[in-house]
């Protein structure tokens, strides 16, 4: 009797709960089959009006460039009306997740390596392979580069451009201090020593000038460092392929610099956000993606910034290309043909290449790259020259992040801050990050 009562009680609770969530599962479970959009690709219809939504992350500068590019596209396809929209990075991904849940992702939108697995494996993205040769040309692409947009055999994103890590330096600041920029090909330890030298020289400046910002909390830089040691960062299923000890070693190797307050202090860094130490003229170097140079120049108020390869490991730089600004389309788009045509236009059209320059990275397609007007000493020409020069150093395969990378990357950054404030040590850093990695990376 008792038994019956509990089970029915449970069943009742369960039934109520089911009723309560019925509405949400109805839509949430729809992610499975999207048979409707797997229809044959056909050339874009020209006999009817088509509306496309186009969404990207970025700032107002990028907005202006997109607007120009869209205008050209609409001239080419007068029956297509493109509705552009944009958000900042964080908001962008919360907005996309919401739309994904409601099956209302935009027709065309920017995608990042950190998220493409998650969206593709949840059946949110349009497989563009059937569009190749119809509305979308990928003939000019390097195979591996294009491969970065494929998940489980489907082509879910087309990369617009490539980035690689680089070390920016602030020439004016270094001139003031009378210090030469770091030598090319220096090791991490040499770089650290150089940082010390600059921070000592800049100690009596007002405001104080530091050698560089703390690079420890950037997951990509850690990955670069791992790759330099011949280690693969991720396993097949996206889980970390390195050991906790590797992470501890990474954090500990830069610890003396934190202890001796060599890095641009975190207290300052938090206050000048969203700018960085280099942009406010208080740090002379920073390691980041090379396409960021334009933004740094705008913030620093000078174009007199230089760019060098990242510090080297035992077997040289071992840099890698990171395909960036992929373009994807929703699995639920009503206009797969037009969406593919828009993606094609944005990645292949030479005029578009001219409009964007290197602001999204160096264009992946040669026609776009060649169309850029590179003024001597301009930011664009610096980045293109850098990528040409560094091409020999790019010897490693791109480590492709899997599902959940976005979350663990943010956690890495957060732990980097805690570390900089001295709230945690290397062990705790590694423990907490692996905890997050376990919860978020690598399959179910």
């Amino acid at each position: 009797m008792v038994r019956t009562r509990t089970t029915t009680g449970k069943a009742a609770v369960h039934a109520t709960a089911i009723a309560a969530v019925a509405a949400l599962t109805l839509s949430a479970c729809g992610g499975g089959g999207n048979a409707a959009t797997t229809a044959e690709a056909a050339p874009v219809a020209t006999d009817r009006d088509i509306e496309l939504s186009l969404v990207w992350w970025g700032d107002d500068d990028r907005a202006n460039r997109y607007e120009e590019a869209v205008k050209l596209f609409e001239e080419k396809y007068p029956n297509i009306d493109v509705k552009p929209q944009f958000q900042a990075w964080d908001d962008y991904w919360t907005a996309r997740t919401t739309e994904a849940a409601g099956q209302t992702l935009p027709d065309v939108f920017q995608m990042d390596l950190a998220y493409i697995h998650q969206y593709a494996s949840n059946n949110q993205l349009l497989d563009l392979s059937s569009q190749v040769g119809v509305n979308l040309e990928t003939g000019d692409y390097d195979e591996t580069l294009l491969g970065s947009g494929s998940v489980n055999g489907g082509q879910f994103g087309i990369p617009t451009s490539t980035n690689t890590l680089g070390m920016f330096y602030h020439q004016d600041l270094l001139d003031e201090l009378g210090i030469e920029p770091p030598a090319e090909g220096l090791t991490w330890d040499e770089y650290d020593a150089w940082l010390r030298e600059v921070s000592e020289a800049g100690a009596d400046k007002d405001p104080q000038v530091y050698g560089g910002t703390d690079y420890t909390g950037a997951l990509w830089i850690f990955i670069q460092w791992l790759v330099q040691q011949g280690k693969a960062p991720f396993a097949e299923d996206g889980s970390p392929a390195f050991e906790k000890a590797d992470l501890v070693a990474w954090v500990e190797r830069s610890q003396p610099l934190r202890d001796d307050k060599v890095f641009f202090p975190i207290q300052r860094a938090k206050q000048v956000e969203p700018l960085g130490g280099m942009q406010v003229g208080q740090a002379t170097t920073e390691i980041t993606w090379d396409n960021m140079l334009a933004g740094y120049a705008a913030g620093a108020g000078t174009e007199n910034l230089g760019i060098l390869p990242v510090p080297t490991g035992a077997d040289g730089s071992q840099q890698f290309w990171k395909p960036s600004m992929l373009l994807s389309s929703s699995a639920n788009t009503d206009e797969p043909d037009a969406a593919a045509a828009l993606i094609d236009f944005l990645v292949n059209d030479p005029e578009v290449g001219k409009i964007f320059g290197t602001s999204k990275g160096v264009p992946a397609v040669a026609a776009q790259k060649d169309a850029m007007e590179l003024a001597e000493g301009s930011i664009d020409s610096k980045i293109v020259t850098y990528e040409e020069e560094v091409a020999d150093l790019v010897t490693a395969e791109t480590p492709l992040p899997g599902e959940g990378y976005g979350v663990v990357e943010a956690e890495f950054k957060r732990l980097g801050e805690e570390l900089a404030y001295g709230n945690i040590n290397a062990e705790e850093f590694a423990d907490q990050w692996f905890q997050s990695a376990e919860a978020n990376l690598g399959g179910e």
Binding site: D60, Q85, D91, T94, E99, G295, A298, G301
Partner: protein, 309 residues
């Protein structure tokens, strides 16, 4: 501080009648005490006023300073005056006009006022004037929702509105207003209605009015002060609301001002404090205007809320 408020008994002497202090024609000694008391009062109150007002005045004046001269400048008065900050603030963000944000804020705020007034007056009438079984329980629940942390409903509400495809529309922000979920307003009106004599209802009933008639023709017109107070609060709260739009509005052309302001802080590649401040001031302008015009209603509304609990 209590010592400035009350006359000290030592000065009055043991035998003096307590009335002496209140009597204006009393001894010059007492008058003098009153005067020094008054001086102390004004000095103290003015000091507080300076502290209270400084951030606001500083913000306002900052908008007229050149961009580089804002953060470090403690002085209120700009050395050089400029309107550049307003020019860049009014130029909008990423192709979206500043007025789009204003319009969105206005739609939300006016919609909230309409929703709150319609739903709260009606519900309050039921609570205050109609006796039916269960009313006490409902009233207790209504009061209880005032103490409920909103956290427990935002996630399911979000899931609900999302599943109905209402994200990126104003509906999730307005629907609760039309359904009287803001217990504060219902409560305020219930209290007000309880203060109106029942004889009015009876008289109207004798004249043949039903509940709707009593509500619509007799009580609603008398509820004007409560309706005005509620409207102003509803407007201001909606105007300043951040979390709601943050959750439900993801497309820049649907942003109300607070979200636009936040986007502005995040997305300008150079730190443009001037324009940020100018936009912040513009965003506060309607609130301040309402405050200046209706301060009595607002302050009295708050005061009654506390007393009639």
């Amino acid at each position: 501080m209590s010592e400035t408020s009350y006359p000290s008994p030592t000065a009055l002497g043991a035998g003096t009648a307590p009335r002496a202090d209140r009597d204006h024609s009393s001894s010059s000694k007492a008058r003098q005490r009153r005067r020094t008391g008054s001086v102390i009062f004004h000095v103290a109150v003015l000091a507080i006023a300076v502290v209270i007002l400084y951030p606001g005045v500083w913000m306002l004046m900052s908008t007229f300073k050149p961009n580089g001269d804002i953060v470090g400048n403690v002085n209120l008065w700009p050395e050089t005056w400029t309107l550049d900050n307003y020019v860049s603030a009014l130029s909008g963000i990423g192709g979206i006009s500043f007025w789009t944000f204003v319009l969105n804020s206005l739609i939300l705020a006016v919609g909230s006022v309409v929703g709150v007034v319609l739903s709260s007056t009606v519900s309050a009438y039921a609570f205050a004037r109609i006796s039916f079984p269960g009313r006490g329980v409902y009233f207790a629940i209504m009061i209880g929702t005032m103490l409920l942390p909103f956290h427990v409903v935002i996630i399911p509400q979000y899931i609900l509105f999302n599943s109905m495809g209402m994200v990126n529309t104003f509906l999730p922000l307005l629907a609760p207003k039309f359904l009287a979920t803001e217990a504060f307003f219902v409560f305020l009106m219930v209290q007000f209605l309880r203060g109106l004599p029942r004889e009015l209802d009876e008289a109207a009933r004798i004249d043949g009015c039903g509940h709707w008639g009593i509500f619509r023709l007799v009580l609603l017109p008398l509820m004007r002060p409560a309706v005005i107070t509620s409207s102003i609060f509803a407007f201001i709260w909606s105007w300043n609301d951040f979390l709601g739009p943050l959750l439900y509005l993801k497309q820049p052309d649907t942003y109300p001002l607070p979200i636009a302001l936040r986007m502005y802080v995040d997305q300008t590649s150079i730190s443009d404090y001037g324009a940020q401040m100018a936009m912040a001031v513009l965003a506060l302008l309607p609130v301040l205007l309402f405050f200046v015009l209706f301060q009595r209603y607002l302050v009295d509304g708050v005061a009654t809320q506390g007393l009639k609990g």
